[in-house]
């Protein structure tokens, strides 16, 4: 049984009926009209219900266990994907996956955080929380992209970098800093998509793009709402208030200039129709990639520098 969050129940019920009807309509054309009517109704209801969601409910959606993860998108977006493993220094961190393949006919490098679905998989993927070797694998792949003139597509979906003893011993700070630095210097197009959780510095190590996109129900924050509440009020249960004040949902991110575009999700969220979600993400990435292909290496570096250089708010 797929997990259904209380606030998504009415939408899920309707979306499920649409799906069933779509199956029927495939063999019997008489259901066509009914399908169209129900699809419209489902989309409308989903829009209404989801428009009223609180920031914390959005965060819950971004963490939804049925939500498509990096490898789910790679399977739909990338042809002939070859996953590349390891940082050549210490280990292969399964919480970051990366490799090469073709996107819309172009050779690309893809790097993304990877969460697990089963308990066993989550242990292997460390719940999408990388150790330094994950970031060092990313650095290695960024450099490979630069050398072979391949655009970089990153997919962000992490609660944050892993706060562990070994992570500190092996230089978590340096690994994240170096990953950020490497991204700033790439002479190829870099397109970042926040597909689920954008957790702090652990996300930013994959986040320095010429264009940054965010899925409609993803979030991006300097600290998790729980962590913020624990620090401000010594009370993790006040996370909903923190989520509100931190302005971490897609519309706020767009308003603050932190992202360049919001990718609309199918009715009920990406997990209700991963194929449709992938098609929309694909179209958004392609549109941005095409625009960047006009720039040369130096132009791409300058474009990326200017993009991040202007972020911030101060009086001068």
């Amino acid at each position: 049984m797929p997990i259904v969050l209380p606030f998504e129940r009415p939408v899920v019920e309707l979306v499920t009926r649409v799906r069933e009807l779509r199956e029927l309509a495939r063999s019997d054309a008489r259901f066509g009209a009914e399908l169209e009517r129900l699809e419209e109704k489902a989309a409308k209801l989903a829009r209404e219900v989801f428009a009223g969601l609180t920031p914390m409910q959005k965060v819950q959606l971004s963490r939804h266990p049925s939500r498509p993860y990096t490898l789910d998108y790679i399977g739909r977006l990338i042809e002939g994907f070859v996953e590349l493993h390891g940082d050549r220094r210490y280990a292969d961190d399964a919480s970051i996956v990366g490799g090469i393949g073709r996107f819309a006919g172009r050779r690309v490098v893809v790097v993304g955080h990877q969460k697990g679905r089963s308990t066993k998989e989550n242990v292997q993927r460390n719940f999408g929380m990388p150790n330094p070797e994950g970031y060092r694998k990313a650095i290695r792949l960024y450099e490979l992209a630069d050398r072979f003139r391949m655009p970089v597509l990153t997919l962000i979906d992490t609660p944050g970098a892993y706060p562990g003893i070994e992570a500190e011993e092996r230089g978590q700070s340096e690994a994240i800093g170096k990953a950020i630095e490497t991204m700033t210097a790439l002479a190829v197009p870099v397109i970042v998509s926040v597909i689920g959780e954008g957790g702090s510095g652990g996300a930013l190590a994959l986040g320095v793009g010429n264009r940054v996109l965010v899925m409609e129900h993803a979030y991006y924050s300097v600290i998790s709402p729980e962590g913020c509440a624990a620090i401000l009020w010594k009370d993790g249960t006040r996370a909903p208030q923190a989520a509100e004040r931190l302005r971490i949902t897609a519309p706020h991110l767009l308003e603050l200039g932190v992202v360049d575009g919001v990718v609309e999700e199918p009715p009920g969220g990406a997990h209700q129709d991963p194929d449709a979600a992938a098609r929309r993400l694909s179209a958004a990435i392609l549109e941005n990639l095409r625009a960047l292909e006009r720039l040369d290496g130096a132009g791409l570096r300058d474009d990326r520098y200017a993009r991040f250089r202007r972020l911030g708010a101060f009086v001068a």
């Binding site: 300097v222 620090i231 972020l311």
Partner: protein, 283 residues
Amino acid sequence: MTLPDKTPAQARPGEKRSLGQGVFHKCEGCGAVVTRERLAEAFNVCGACGWHHVLPVDRWRELLLDEAALERWDEHIAPTDPLEFDDGKPYRERLARAQRTTSRTDAIEIGRARIGGHPVGYGCFVFGFMGGSMGSVVGERIARLFERSAAERMAVILLHASGGARMQEGILSLMQMAKTVAALRRFRDAGRPFLSVLLHPTTGGVAASTALLGDVNVAEPNALIGFAGPRVIESTLRTTLPEGFQRSDFLLEHGMVDLIVPRPNLKATLAHLVELLTPGGTP
């Protein structure tokens, strides 16, 4: 990840105030009681055990810079409140209070100085200002420090002391990590050295941006340096951390810093490094 604006161990926030109060100070290392005047003369290093107590920014200038002189840059850049953040106390009030108690406009000062005769771009975090946290002003000033120093062909020496990103400016604070590191990369490409000095404490988003990316990383003795704060790790792993974890010796042992230099030798060491790393000698 970001730490609260509290000092984890060794030091107290608002050190200027605490060191200005009372006549005597009990050493946090050995417990010896000395007069504050005597401790201040030694730049807050305990004469008995060598413990480095937190040093205010004006004393850092005095310790490191020729004639203690800093030609300050970009003081006119002032913080604002993009999220209208209020956690029970409005961010604007926190800012006003920090500005009053530290006499600084935000958590970093930057500018041009000389060290042992060498012109350098110099920056120093103000830990007493909201835990040295990096918001938009700190990010902008660091970016300008690197840009201007590159244009003037000077080395950069940046003293880090920070709990990380400034939560009250939300995601914009996180973006300062990318901004500062991007500026550092451009500076590197211009061929001048970046000396990173790690003071107590340097954690979170600041540790994971410029702090450990120096051409040479120099730590103070016994500074706390790490990505995740010790309390975050302890609560996540439900464990107690070993003695010395994330302290300077630990970082040296794990290959993350080049040198641990006590305050009395720091100026000479930095001047020597600038000289050795400057191509064709200092102009």
